[in-house]
Amino acid sequence: MSENNEKKGFFSEMIFNNPVFGLYLGICSTLAITTSLNNAIGMGVAVIVVLVLSNIAVSLIAPLTPDEIHIPVYIVIIATLVTLVGMLMQAYTPELFSALGAFIDLIVVNCIILGRAEAYACKNGVAASARDGLMMGLSYTFSLLAMSLIRQLLGTGILSFSNPMSGNEIFSIRLIPQGFEIPVFKTQTGAFLTFAVLAAAVAAIKLNSEAKEKAKALEAAKAKKKEAAKA
C-alpha cells in the first residue's frame, strides 16, 4: 500500500506538479529550444544544476536574510549560478552552448527557479530543498524531452543524440522516411501546437484522476454510511 503511494508520489509529481504543463512556468525556453533531444537534455541538465544549487544556497541564506532584500539576494545567487554554468558550457560544450544560445542566460528569469526559491527553499531545510530542486528539475527535463521527442521526430524524421562535449553522434535513427517529415514542427508554430496538445493531455489526466478520486471518496463515504446504518 505504501509502495503504491511512493510510486504514485513520483509519477504524480512528474505529472501533476509538472512546472511546464501543470503550472505553466518556464514556457518560453520550452517553446524555443525543444527542437532536438540534445537541446532538451542539455537545457534540462543546466536547469537541474542551477535549481539544486540555488535551492541549497537559498535555504542556507534564507534564515539570515531580512524580508525586504530577499529578492535581490536570491537573484544574485541565481544569476551567479547561471553565469557559472554558462561559462562552463561555453568552454566545454561549445556546440550545445551555441544551440541553446540566449536561453542559457534566460534561465535566470525562468520562473521555475525563483518560484521554487520563494515557495519552498526559503522555508525548508537544505536536504529537502535540494530534493525539491532535483524533482522540479527532473520534471522540467521530462517535459522538455516529451516536447523534443515529438518535435524532432515529426519535424526532421530522425531521432538522434550526440555527445555534447565532443560532438560525436551516439545514435541516429530515421523513423520517418525522407520527404515525409512535417517541417512545421521545427518552427515556433509547431512548438505551440505540440505544447497545446501536451498541456491538454496533462490536464485530461489530472481531471480524470480527480474524477476517479471523487468517485472513490463518494464510494468510501457510502460504504461508511452503510456500515454505520448496519451497526
Partner: protein, 169 residues
Amino acid sequence: MNKQSTIYKVLLLGVLCAFCGLLLSGVNGLTAPIIEEAAIQKEKANLVLIYPDAEFKEVKDYDDPTGLITGIYTAEGLGTVYKIHNVGYNSNGFTFLLAFNNDGTVGGFQVLEHGETDGFGSRCFDEEYVSSVESLTTSDSAPLLSGATLTSTAIKQGYDAAKALFTAK
C-alpha cells in the same frame, strides 16, 4: 546584530556580491582561454587561406560605423585580416576576407560564401577581379565591375570600411 538594521542588509548584500564575484572571476579565468581558443580555431580554417602558418589573434574592440566588418584578426608580423559581410545582389549577402599587410598592400582577398548570380555577380570572385584587388594598396579603392555592379559595389564598400580601420590604427 539586528537583522532589520540597514547596516546588516548592506553588509549581507555586499558580502554576497563579493563572494559571487570571486567565484565568477575564478571560473572565468579557467574557461576564458578555452573559449577564445575555440573561437579562433573556428576561424583559423579560413584565415590560413590568406596567411598560412601564421599565429592569429582576434581583435575584439573596434569601432566600425559601417557595420560591415564582422571580425578582425591580426597575424603576428604579417598583417591584419578583416572578415566582411555585405549585401550585393542576393539579399542574403556574402562574406569575404580582406587582408592588409603591415606595409599597406593588400595581403589577400578571399570569398568565403556567396549566393551571387552565376556569370554576373560571381565574376567578382574570379581570378581576374581577385588579382586586381590583390594588387591594390591602402590608398586605392576596389574597382567596380560592369555587369556585376551590385556585387562589386558591396566589395568596394567593405574594402573602404576595412581600409578606414586599418589606417586608423
